[in-house]
Subunit: 182 residues, 4 copies
Amino acid sequence: MTREASILNAATRVFAAAGYHAARMAAIAREAGVADGTVYLYFRGKRELFVALFQRGFAEFLAGLDEALASSTPPLDALCAYHLRYLGARYDLAVITQVEMRHSDPELREDIGRIVRPYFDRIEAAIAAMPHDADIKVARRMVFGTLDEQVTAWVRSGGAFDLASLAPEVSRLLRRALGGND
Amino acid sequence: MTREASILNAATRVFAAAGYHAARMAAIAREAGVADGTVYLYFRGKRELFVALFQRGFAEFLAGLDEALASSTPPLDALCAYHLRYLGARYDLAVITQVEMRHSDPELREDIGRIVRPYFDRIEAAIAAMPHDADIKVARRMVFGTLDEQVTAWVRSGGAFDLASLAPEVSRLLRRALGGND
Amino acid sequence: MTREASILNAATRVFAAAGYHAARMAAIAREAGVADGTVYLYFRGKRELFVALFQRGFAEFLAGLDEALASSTPPLDALCAYHLRYLGARYDLAVITQVEMRHSDPELREDIGRIVRPYFDRIEAAIAAMPHDADIKVARRMVFGTLDEQVTAWVRSGGAFDLASLAPEVSRLLRRALGGND
Amino acid sequence: MTREASILNAATRVFAAAGYHAARMAAIAREAGVADGTVYLYFRGKRELFVALFQRGFAEFLAGLDEALASSTPPLDALCAYHLRYLGARYDLAVITQVEMRHSDPELREDIGRIVRPYFDRIEAAIAAMPHDADIKVARRMVFGTLDEQVTAWVRSGGAFDLASLAPEVSRLLRRALGGND
DNA sequence: AATGAATGAGCGTTCATTCAT
DNA sequence: TATGAATGAACGCTCATTCAT
């Protein structure tokens, strides 16, 4: 594992455990097994490290999503299953996603928003690809909000249940909500 | 207005504008027109002030909700309309709710969770009161997640559209999702 | 002595002993007998503390100078005597003056320059008030440079000789240099 | 140009532009076209590099001075002309001389003092070589202070005038000050 | 109850220097 | 010799909280 990768991994663990503000750069460095200053050779600062972490996690998420969407499963079902399976297998990332996506630092929030937007587009496309009679924006927020809240509950429970197994019920309800059942 | 109330009001404005971490106790005191030390005569500290704020806001929200639920409207529709109408008229509170409800400080998050739980019970009761075939937990998270995400989008937009007017479409979709249409 | 005054006194000692860069705010606070944060209640930061120190020292210097110039002694002689007497009685201030007046931080240097300029005007006025045939700028630099270098040598020696007693010889040579002897 | 020489040249530029404290070893290395570590093969550290720079610059200055003093011009006049001509043609070196000669780091200041002393001896010798009635130390400081302050003013002006052309007026005034006019 | 001056722990970041290659 | 990635000590400043008045 490259130094950069171990720093990112360490950062994921520390940010997830402590939250952005309480996370200490020194703790990340120690967790990564490098000196404090070394972190700054790879990332400009705390904020950049966090954004980079988020960005790469999301890029991987999106890449996998596109693969999942390419299968023969109806897009919305594929998307729901993928969302819950992906985060259900990455507790730390899920924590970060839930906790930090609505961050109080406006700049950070904007960075995050820019990173997440492509996912919103995928959701809208998945909805548009099925028969439905819903307001597309309200529907998109319903889909994301529903999935996101399942993850939040899972994180709140400390990962006590199997997130991925919620997929069938979630997508059944969402499909029916959108009016695309026949 | 009592001193306590003006401190709470000031805190609402400051927390909403700056976020929990960037909010300065001194700014809250100044905004409330009291000395720094005075805040501590009414609230043990920053965290407690924030929790108190959240708690009272939520208590009022819940009280109004119960009134709304007492009308002849179907509970779920009443709840959706109320949620969007209430926050749609209180931008600062909405910001705080969205941004801070999933806070990175674990202790704070737990406090918030305890405060919000009664609302989850109301949502589950509203679902139970209608014909439906959904998993109650998944459904409750769908309802809350859907409503919450509408608010988040509204906050992100800077309050650029009318939140309350989304209610009919939101409750139509939710009703259909739950299978309670006939 | 007010807190502000004790901080300024402490700062004078610490800056003189260590130089601007090596001087630690914590050392100044400790020397002043206050907490670290207290310094920042009176001065915006290290730079501002230094400039304030310089400014007040110089203001006092200038006020005393104007008094000295008001006597019946020829201005240039009064000025030389005053310069050497004033700094000769304030070793720490002399150190700061010599060491920091030509500071490498451009902003700081500019602040210092602005503060010192009025003294240059007084010197030029003192020269103009006597019969002389010298270029006024070259002459002003000669007067200041000559006085300044006596102080530098005194500081370098650790204050080992009596600075004020150099005044007669210094002003005799300067008077003669300017061509004002008859 | 040897590596050592290019490092010294780079250091001159960087120290002049940024000042001792703000000068970065990495910047010097980059400017010299060598790796960071390479600088330490030639100089023990930042301080030593600076002292070496100053030392060599001064050695060259002194060598040229001795040549200038060997001419038939009266020593003091030769010295003044040389001082102003030499620095007037080397802005970077002049900046370093003015800004850093009275450095706040005591050890560095002592090194510098040791390096400059031979020049003081030359000045005293030049004074001694002419008829005069002045205290030799006061006179030496007058000569150096006067010259130095011309350079300081020139540096402060950003090199806006011709330094060397001040020589006749400077040495005229100094000669007259010392009482060596006939 | 109210004040607000004082406190002091806490931390992100820089950069001279080292050393394995 | 030369490299440049890695090191880690060092420090100015903030701000929640306290407490003498």
